[in-house]
Amino acid sequence: MKISGVHLASAAAAMAAATVAACALAAEPAPPADSPPAGQQLYARHCLSCHQADGGGVPNMQPPIVGGSWVKSDPRALALFVMTGGFGSAERKDSAVDNVMPEFRQLSDEELAGILSYIRARFGGGASAVTAADVAAARADLKKTAPTTSRDTGARSGRSFP
């Protein structure tokens, strides 16, 4: 997988971002002990109906997150992928799945960081958490030229059967 226009954050920036995120989380009131963490709740709200509770997707309709390459990729690249709706899958006819992914740039840096950290921990083989600073950096990339050619490799190939 190759992503043009996205740069890896430096180790120092990543550390700084982690610190910022930790502070931001600490400042929020703790959720009730019996409710799932915010990232999981946000996943249920925005992602689950298509990608399903187990991240397995739906054959031919929506790709799995589990086994895909994006979930484990660079945090900033993953954030950009999700904010752009799979780099504009809605406008493309070459996608490997039936249904388009909408854009999620309307969510805040913190919300996206929560979702992405959840899917990486749960479906990404324990890939590192994504910080609000990672998302903010990706959001800055969004204003530059957006990549248009890459797509996830975890999906099926072939045609559609609802």
Binding site: S49, A53, D54, N99, F161
Partner: protein, 412 residues
């Protein structure tokens, strides 16, 4: 070349009823008292629709291509299997001496010659040139006795939003998709090399009518339409997840010339029991469209059940109550998550004079088995195609493993 697995069929526990092998566990299905189930074929991969010729030969369409099957010794189980052709799609139907099939971009036919199982004759193109789309792309079809070809041209969209499936995105008005999609187009099934432009839009406002069928006893066209997805995630201020899982009916209609069935401007809300304006078009979860503009469905089936085939029963095997009634294969939901998935069954809708005559009943169930993680991927089987054999038994095709069941009435 694909290898065909018959081992699964052979190893099933069997008993014999009137010379027909009957699966001891009903092939995993539950059916009403008096019906027995035979697994006639297994392991073909993702099946779609079925057609059965007057001599009993079975033709299955699927994502792996077309397969012809024959039960040579009459024990109800396939013993000759012949993949053929080069069409990967959903629909298959027999009209006169032709086997009509379709894929995402066209409808074709093969000659059926006496004694031949897999057609040896060249494929002819009846219609081609539908734009290549991803969503709702199956060109399912049906033919009337004159050879009029009715093609379902599904809308490549959920609800004609400016941005498909984007939270809060408004509906395009008028929806430009309806010019070329989201309805039924008619062609002359006896003519070759037609294009979409040579067809005529017969009916509109239909998101995706995979289950489309000519009803011979009524001389009329019927369809069960896949309703819209995601009212909750697209308009969270109006609907919650439970609403999305339960309110958008799968609409069963008689389809008339010039009819408009309301997509994308409306959907039939099964909680309110009436048609409402879609949230993309100013709907507020209560607002109703102009009276009389769109017909109410004959039946609104539960949301997201995914009606994938429709069959009007006119065989001689089933008891009288089934005559002229409708069987519907529901492929099963994905968009009900996080609520429990549903569908995955064959339903019988009693009909009289072309209208529903009482409530629908579940006819065959148990296809999905344990739906681990509530994910449709984990369904054991998913019913997708229906056909009646010359002896009146009902055949059901599955899309998960390619199993085919024969359901017959024996009174036992």
């Amino acid at each position: 070349m694909r290898s065909i697995c018959l081992a699964g069929v052979v190893s099933l526990a069997l008993s014999m009823v009137g010379g027909i092998a009957v699966a001891a566990d009903n092939g995993g299905l539950t059916v009403p008292d008096g019906f027995t189930v035979t697994v006639v074929q297994d392991g073909l991969g993702a099946g779609r629709h079925l057609a059965i010729a007057a001599n009993g030969d079975i033709y299955l369409a699927g994502r792996n291509g077309l397969v012809a099957m024959r039960d040579g010794n009459g024990d109800g189980k396939v013993d000759e299997t012949a993949p053929f052709g080069n069409v990967q799609g959903t629909s298959v139907s027999i009209y006169k001496q032709w086997l009509y099939v379709s894929d995402d971009v066209g409808v074709y036919r093969y000659p059926l010659k006496k004694g031949e199982l897999a057609p040896s004759g060249a494929r002819q193109t009846v219609v081609s040139g539908f734009p290549k789309e991803r969503q709702h792309a199956d060109k399912t079809f049906t033919l009337d006795p004159k050879g009029t070809l009715y093609v379902n041209v599904g809308a490549p969209s959920n609800s004609c939003q400016e941005k498909d499936r984007q939270e809060g995105s408004q509906g395009r008005n008028p929806c430009p998709i309806l010019e070329h999609y989201g309805g039924v187009w008619v062609f002359d099934g006896n003519k070759l090399d037609q294009t979409p432009a040579s067809g005529r839009r017969f009916a509109t406002g239909m998101r995706n009518a995979v289950a489309i069928q000519w009803n011979g006893s009524q001389n009329a066209l019927y369809a069960v339409i896949h309703g819209r997805d995601s009212i909750d995630t697209l308009f969270p201020a109006l609907y919650n997840a439970e609403d999305n899982a339960t309110r958008q009916g799968e609409e069963f209609h008689q389809i008339v010339d010039g009819g408009n069935y309301g997509w994308p401007y409306t959907f039939f809300d099964t909680k309110l029991g009436k048609r409402v304006v879609a949230p993309e078009y100013g709907g507020d979860a209560k607002k109703v469209p102009e009276a009389g503009k769109y017909p109410d469905p004959l039946v609104a089936f539960p949301a997201h059940w995914a009606p994938n085939d429709l069959l009007f029963y006119s065989g001689k095997n089933f008891p009288a109550k089934y005559q002229d009634g409708a069987f519907i294969a529901f492929h099963g939901s994905w968009n009900r998550a996080p609520e429990p998935q549903a569908g995955y069954k064959v339903v019988f809708q009693p009909m009289k004079g072309g209208k529903p005559d009482g409530a629908y009943e579940v006819f065959a169930d148990g296809f999905a088995g344990e739906l681990t993680d509530n994910n449709p991927s984990n369904a054991q089987y998913r019913p997708v195609g229906l056909a009646v054999a010359p002896d009146g038994s009902l055949y059901v095709a599955d899309s998960q493993k390619g199993r085919i069941w024969r359901i017959a009435y024996t009174g036992k």
